[in-house]
């Protein structure tokens, strides 16, 4: 093995660590922002006792959860019960691997053993990136389903069942929405998708402009995939107590909690990358750090709308949700993909 490979391997591992930590921090920030914003939406202040503006609230929460007694109810399926929270969190983190966060590799200002170190703005530039995302996305569902099933509680079970049905259904329109985008770009690699958007119209040829329908479908599916309101049926506090996580407390619940938010963040990154031009923006090619900024702004905007939606819209009923998916969303996305293909065919052949 040559030195270069080993170094790049080490760099890669460090990168993975950094990204994972960054995502977990983003989760913490996200919870905080959400609580503050929900406070504002309901005419309140939200947490403001710990840290400036309550900024340390989530740290207090995590401390508390960490020190909480780990109850394992006697009636659960032990192994699966303990595994489920991890199964929910890890895939959510993994999906981030293919997202390019900037336009060009960064070169570190120093060398190790004479080798210059460049860091790619992605962890893996898979050429079937979109497929990877879809595949990993459905893995996360297992955590929730298994958690619901192993708890041996009727509420959890119902929550788990709902999740499986919901997530499986929403994969389809989500995939089709992506397909419409892929058809235009001609590649499944996320880097290509972003570069494509960056190279026309002065970097503003965002796919949302040509594929608004696909974007909306994707947005809706993203809410459903992440179990966010109005599709938060796996939890449905008003009906199923806490849905699949009814029997989970302490840190185990903390992991589920984190998984939901990480999922939501990652999905927003993907959405921003595929439809909103990712890192692209003025001078992003020249100064890659600028690209990160652009991406973060876009993601923050998407996340804000998700919180906004949560504060204002009631929940859809479970069977209506399924009907909506199969009878409306799926036909629409199929039609959209077909129309795209047709237009492309007419234009280019």
């Amino acid at each position: 093995m040559d030195l270069e490979f080993i170094i790049s391997l080490i760099v890669q591992i460090v990168m993975i660590g950094v990204i994972a930590v960054a995502l977990m921090t983003a989760f913490a920030a996200m919870v905080m922002v959400e609580r503050k914003l929900l406070g504002r939406f309901t005419l309140r202040y939200g947490p403001n006792r710990v840290g400036k503006y309550g900024s340390l609230q989530i740290i207090a929460d995590m401390f508390k959860l960490f020190f909480k007694e780990e109850v394992i109810p006697g009636h659960v399926e032990r192994t699966v019960y303990l595994m489920a929270p991890g199964l929910a969190l890890v895939p959510a983190l993994m999906a981030f691997a293919v997202v390019p966060i900037a336009g060009a590799p960064f070169t570190l200002p120093f060398q190790i053993m004479g080798t210059p170190i460049t860091i790619n703005p992605w962890i893996a530039n898979v050429n079937v990136g979109v497929l990877y995302i879809l595949a990993i996305g459905s893995l996360g569902t297992y955590g929730v389903i298994l958690g619901g099933w192993s708890s041996n509680n009727k509420y959890s079970l119902l929550g788990g069942l709902r999740t499986s049905a919901q997530m499986l259904s929403y994969e389809l329109p989500m995939g089709l929405a992506m397909l419409s985008a892929i058809l235009i770009v001609g590649s499944m690699q996320l880097t290509n998708i972003v570069e494509f958007q960056a190279s026309y119209l002065g970097g503003f040829f965002w796919l949302i402009l040509v594929q608004p329908v696909a974007f909306i479908v994707f947005y809706i599916c993203a809410l459903a995939e992440a179990g966010r309101s109005p599709f938060d049926l796996p939890e449905t506090e008003n009906e199923l107590i806490a849905g699949f996580s009814t029997e989970y407390g302490g840190m185990k619940f903390g992991l589920f909690f984190a998984a939901e938010y990480v999922h939501m963040i990652v999905v927003s990154f993907i959405m921003a990358t595929v439809f909103l031009g990712g890192w692209s923006g003025p001078f992003a090619q020249q100064a890659p750090f600028l690209g990160i900024g652009y991406l973060l702004i876009k993601v923050a905007f998407i996340l804000f709308t998700m919180i906004w939606v949560r504060a204002s819209i009631p929940r859809v009923r479970f069977d209506k949700l399924m009907k909506f998916c199969w009878k409306f969303l799926l036909p629409v996305s199929i039609a959209n993909a077909a129309a795209t293909a047709l237009v492309l065919a007419v234009l280019f052949f």
Binding site: L43, P47, K68, P73, E239, A242, G250, F253, R310
Partner: protein, 824 residues
Amino acid sequence: MTIEAPPPSDNGVEVPAELKQNVFFGKLDDLYNWGRAYSLWPLTMGLACCAIEMIATGTARYDQDRFGAALFRATPRQADFMIVSGTVTKKMLPQIIRIFNQMAEPKYVISMGACANGGGPFKEGYNVVSGIDKFIPVDVYVPGCPPTPQALLNGIIKLQEKIQGQSIKTVPWYRPEERTEPVPMPILGPDLIDPRQVSLIKDTLEKARQPEEAEGDENGEAPRPKRVVKPPKLPTWDITPTDEATALADSINQALQADQAVVPEANTLIVAPEHLVAFGRHVRDDLGYELLSNVTGVDYLGREGDRFEVVYHAYNVRQPEKPALVFKARAAEDKPELPSLYGVWKTCYLQEREIYDLYGINFTDHPNMKRVLLWDGFHGHPLRKDYEEAYYEDPVKPFPSRWPGGDHARAETRNPFGKNVIYPQDWDIDQWTPDEVEHNLDHVIEARDIKEGVDFDTDRIVLNLGPHHPSTHGVFRMVVAMEGETIVDLEPVFGYLHRNHEKIGERNSWIMNMPFTDRLDYLNSMQNNLAYALTVEKLAGLAVPERAEYIRVIMCELTRVFSHMSLVGFLASDLGCMFTPLFYAFEGRERVVDLFEEASGSRMMCNYMRFGGVTYDISDDWLKRAETVTNTLERGLEELHTLITGNEIVLSRTKDIGYLSPEDLLSHGVTGPMLRAAGIKYDIRRVDPYSIYDRFDFDVPTLPDSDIFCRFYQRILEARESIKILRQAYKGIKDTEPGDIMGGKKGYIFRPPAGEAYVRTEHSKGELGFYVVSNKSDSPWRYRVRSPSFINLNALADMCKGGKVADTIVTLGAIDIVLGEVDR
């Protein structure tokens, strides 16, 4: 143990080894306590009236979330502390303890309100636990009835202080040997059984069975002389039949082709039990009395002839000008039995069960003749006049222990168990086994044949929603059987907040009941006050001055607007709307309760009206502010309307859900906005005007579809009409004489003449009526609340069948129940 002083260190820098550890722990403690103190996740658990103030604590003005203490968790596994907010009943206690045991350490308990602290106003009730701390350890007590939100916030801050005083070294929950055992679950037997007291119970009963010794006790003191209790006077009044009653009785007798089936008495009819069902059919089908609004029992203990009486009040809804039909049936003491009218009016399903529960009158042919408010296995029928609860002292108040010169030993101090429990003397606890099946109730549903209409074979699961559930609006329970997510059957279970309102009411003096009515529908204390005041005024023939009438109307309509707004808010959160609409609605409430606080002295429990008027006058300044508040409310209402009514998801969740035909609604005894949302224009303020409602110009809106959407939208329409009334009342009250707020003559003792009276009012939830019987003494002989929430729930099962779980929650929400009134 002696504590040795640490050896003096010479330079003062070196830290001894064990102290080092303390320093380390000191730092860790800071962090540990900081995290726990500022991250307190409460358990979503509202028990009674106090829960409303608990919700208010979370809303904009108080914002519990500032302290990091408002991430309400519905599951005990994730919660850190439990706010026992309100009255703990014996029926509810096992669930509370189970939830407490399920919470993970470290866990804390805040006992909120007089009831949770020690029984509060309902202390002597036969179904009330006099203080939650008799069973689970309490960390912070918050006094008040209800405590204001500020008080609860203070309680939370106190809890944080307590947590900050703890040390990771000494807290018991990390040491397996010091861990506290789970609290043993109390058992519901003839009364509540604390498993820790089984042997005490056995001994006490054993002793009680011994013949009493006439000698003094071991201290040589002479035994207390037995007090001679004078039985209360039996109510009697003039029963010469009125002409109308005689004419009606004759025509009905003719129709039934029996001579003595119906006998007139005063303005009522006495129906012979064997003709009761035929009579019911006749008056419903031929005379049009479709709505049987009130069914209640009365115990005339000591009367010659039949001891029990069941009184029925029926109305003709389509021809509201026809007078009320009041008929009675009587049952003997040795065989209290009457035919059930369930086949004629479905409303009897619950109302007859209630009579069975409280009076022990058996209704033959009733489909499910079981107790409804208490649990099966409870000993005795509490509303019988000879029933004595654990803290019984005298038939009526004031009890001798509270009376100057009386016996100062209160019944509670004499109770051997230290709680308000009492067991039948001949009960043998060793032979007795708890009835497990009764408790899980699956059998109720299993027993019914509900296979029809299901097109493929799936496993049915029986799911318990409640009594501790975030969306049952308190401690209400529904047992549902589901195929997939479709509801095939539903059985409501009541009584988790049965606070023995009526029993306590019959021991209270007339005026003492006024503050108790506040606690019926605790969102609507003013309307409850009014209904009770009107009833007693009718009995006593009191006139109310003009100004007081206006004040009453203003108070009641303000309440109505708020009540409807909060329904919209609650319904929206039942639909899964976060809390945004609810918090917006509570903004309006804050303003209204501010006005109430100023006028009456209390935010929620106003206790504002009196027989013949109101307690305090209102000032011009108050009126001016009330006008502003009305404008704000109107804006708030329209805002909610624009936010919610047109929303696609709301429409898809509410349209065509929970349908029930107007005929069925009437048969179930449903009244109020639900009935009007089914197209029946029936508003008691119009058809049977009380107070001065006939002076105001307002419409009675109706909607045609009888689904959830109509029920929800109906509330908005009605709130608008109330605002119209308010504006007229603000104008009208200007022409009245300030200060003239009490009619009748002043006096210390109030004794209405003997007789009976039933007055119904249009409450925000439906027809609220009070039925009282007076024996011309200080206390009512019979005090009955016809509570709209309870009776409207009759229709719940029929509305929910065939829907989804989510629909059940919304259907329940749209009925608009308040548990204080459902279970009383």
